[in-house]
Amino acid sequence: MMPILAARAALRFGPPALGIILFLAAWQAAHWHYGAFILPSPWQTLSAVFATLSSASGWAALGATFGRVGLALGLSGLIGGGLGLIAGYLWLIRATLAPVATILLGMPATAWVILTMIWFGPSHGSILFTITIVIGPILYIGTVDAVLTRDRRLEDMATSFGASRVARFHSIALRQILSSLGPVFGIALALGFKVAIMAELVTNVAGLGAQMARARAHMDIDMALANVALAVAGLVVIEHLVIRPFQTRLGQWKRGAA
C-alpha cells in the first residue's frame, strides 16, 4: 500500500517540483552569468522577501494590493457577471452590449491607467476603477457564454416535472453557469493582479506596484524582484485557497462527466 501511495505522490508532485527546480537552476545560472547587480540570486531574493514581510509597511503594501484586487473582483463579478446573466437570457441586451464589450476588451490596460489617473487622480479609487473596468468585460463575456452553453435539455426535464422558471434557474441553470465561471474567475484574478501592480506603479499609490516604483528609483533590484515574487506567491496562494476550491466544489462533475 505504502509504495503505491509513494508512487502516486511522486507522480503528482514530482513533475511540478522538477519544473520549479529547473526554473531556479536557470535563474541561478543567469545570476552567475550577469552578476547580482543585474539579477540577484534566488536566495538573495528570498532574503529580500523576508525583509519585506518583517516590516509593517511590507504587509501594508501587500494588503493594499490584495484588497484592491479582491474588491475589484467582487465588483466585476457583480456588474460584469450580473449583466452577463441578464444578457445571456435576453438577446436584445446581448446584441446591444456585444460591441460595448468588444470595445472595452480591446482597450489596453495601460490606456485605462492613464485615463483614470487624469479623471480621478492617483488614488485608491482610480486603481479600483481600472481593475474593475479591465476584468469586468471578461467576466461579462464568460457569464454570457456560460448561460448560452448550458444544457437546456436539463431544464426541459425539470419543466416536465412542473418546475417553475425560478426553480429551473436556481436548481439547474445556475449550477451549470457557476461551474463554467471557475476558470474565468481564475483568469480575471491573474489579470487583476497584473493591472493592479501596473496601476500602482504608474500612480505611485501604496501597494506592491508602488514598492516596485520605489525599488526602481533606488535601483534596488533585490527589492524589485522581492515584490515580483510576493505578487506571484500571493496570486498562487489565492488561486489555491479561493479559486481552486470554488472550481472543485462547482465544477468537479464536469471532469467526471467528460
Binding site: R152, A158, T159, S160, F161, G162, R175, W253, A257
Partner: protein
C-alpha cells in the same frame, strides 16, 4: 382515470411547421407506442404532452393528476448522485426531507437499483443504471401517466430488453397509462397495447395497429410474427423504408428547435 387526449395539435419551430393538426387519444391505463421515422415530430409531440412545449394550436386534455417523463439519454443532473437525481422532482414541491427520502428509496427499489449505486454520479453509472435512475425519477412522483421519449435508444439490445421488461412489470404493478415514443417496431410491439403511426412530415397520425393480446401476456413468438407481418403494412411504409439521408438536416426531434438537433 389516466388518459390523455391531444386534439389537433400544431407546432412550429420558427418558420418550420413540425406538427400539423395531430390528434391522439390514449385511454386510461393504455400504453400507446408512437412510431414514425426520425424527424417526423414524435419527440416534439412528447414534449407537448409532457408540458415542456406549449403547442401553437390545439388542446391537451389530461385525465390525471401527475405524470412522469423518461427521456432519451436519461437527462440526469451530472453533478448530483443517483439518489438526488431520483429525488429531484420531489424537491420542487413542499415535501419534508423524510417524505422525500422515503419516496426516493421506494422508487429506487422499484427499479432494482442497488443501495451502493445511489451514491454514484451519472458519469460513474453504466447506461443501464442511468436508464434505471431516469425511470425511478419518473416513478418518484407516483405518476398516473408516463411519457417515454425513446429512453432506451442508446442501449445495447440485451439491456434494452431488460429495460422493456422493467417498464412492463412496473406498468402492470402500478396500472399507469403511457405514451412510448420509439422508432423501433419490435419495441413498440413488445410494450404497447396499441401502436400509433405518425406521418413522416408530422401531418397527423396515419392510423393505429393493435398487436395481439396484452403487452405482458404477449409471447416472443407473437412479437416476432407480428413485427415481421407488420413490416408489410402500408401504414408502416415510411418507418421501414424512409431514407434518413432524404430528411432535412434541421429535423425537429429536439424541443430546443431544429438548430440544436439530435
Amino acid at each position: 382515470m389516466s388518459g390523455l387526449t391531444l386534439a389537433t395539435i400544431s407546432h412550429s419551430f420558427e418558420a418550420r411547421r413540425v406538427l400539423d393538426t395531430v390528434s391522439l387519444v390514449i385511454r386510461p391505463g393504455e400504453l400507446v407506442a408512437l412510431v414514425g421515422p426520425s424527424g417526423c415530430g414524435k419527440s416534439t409531440l412528447a414534449a407537448i404532452a409532457g408540458g415542456i412545449l406549449k403547442p401553437d394550436e390545439g388542446r391537451i386534455l389530461r385525465q390525471y393528476q401527475s405524470h412522469g417523463m423518461v427521456f432519451q439519454q436519461s437527462r440526469l443532473l451530472p453533478w448530483a448522485n443517483a439518489r438526488d437525481n431520483i429525488a429531484y422532482p420531489l424537491t420542487l414541491g413542499k415535501m419534508t426531507r423524510a417524505q422525500i427520502t422515503e419516496r426516493t428509496n421506494a422508487a429506487a427499489q422499484a427499479v432494482a437499483l442497488l443501495p451502493e449505486d445511489l451514491d454514484k454520479r451519472p458519469a460513474q453509472l453504466s447506461g443501464g443504471m442511468r436508464a434505471r435512475v431516469a425511470i425511478a425519477r419518473a416513478l418518484v412522483v407516483e405518476p398516473e401517466f408516463l411519457i417515454f421519449d425513446e429512453p432506451f435508444a442508446a442501449l445495447d439490445p440485451a439491456l434494452r430488453r431488460r429495460m422493456q421488461d422493467l417498464v412492463l412489470s412496473l406498468a402492470e404493478a402500478r396500472g399507469f397509462g403511457g405514451l412510448f415514443i420509439t422508432h423501433d417496431l419490435t419495441e413498440a410491439a413488445r410494450l404497447s397495447h396499441r401502436i400509433a403511426v405518425m406521418d413522416r412530415q408530422g401531418k397527423g397520425i396515419l392510423g393505429s395497429l393493435t398487436p395481439p393480446d396484452t403487452p405482458r401476456a404477449r409471447s416472443e413468438a407473437q412479437i416476432f410474427d407480428y413485427t415481421r407481418n407488420a413490416r408489410n403494412d402500408p401504414l408502416l411504409h415510411d418507418l421501414v423504408n424512409v431514407d434518413e439521408r432524404a430528411l432535412a438536416l434541421d429535423c425537429a426531434c429536439d424541443t430546443l428547435g431544429f438548430q440544436r438537433c439530435c
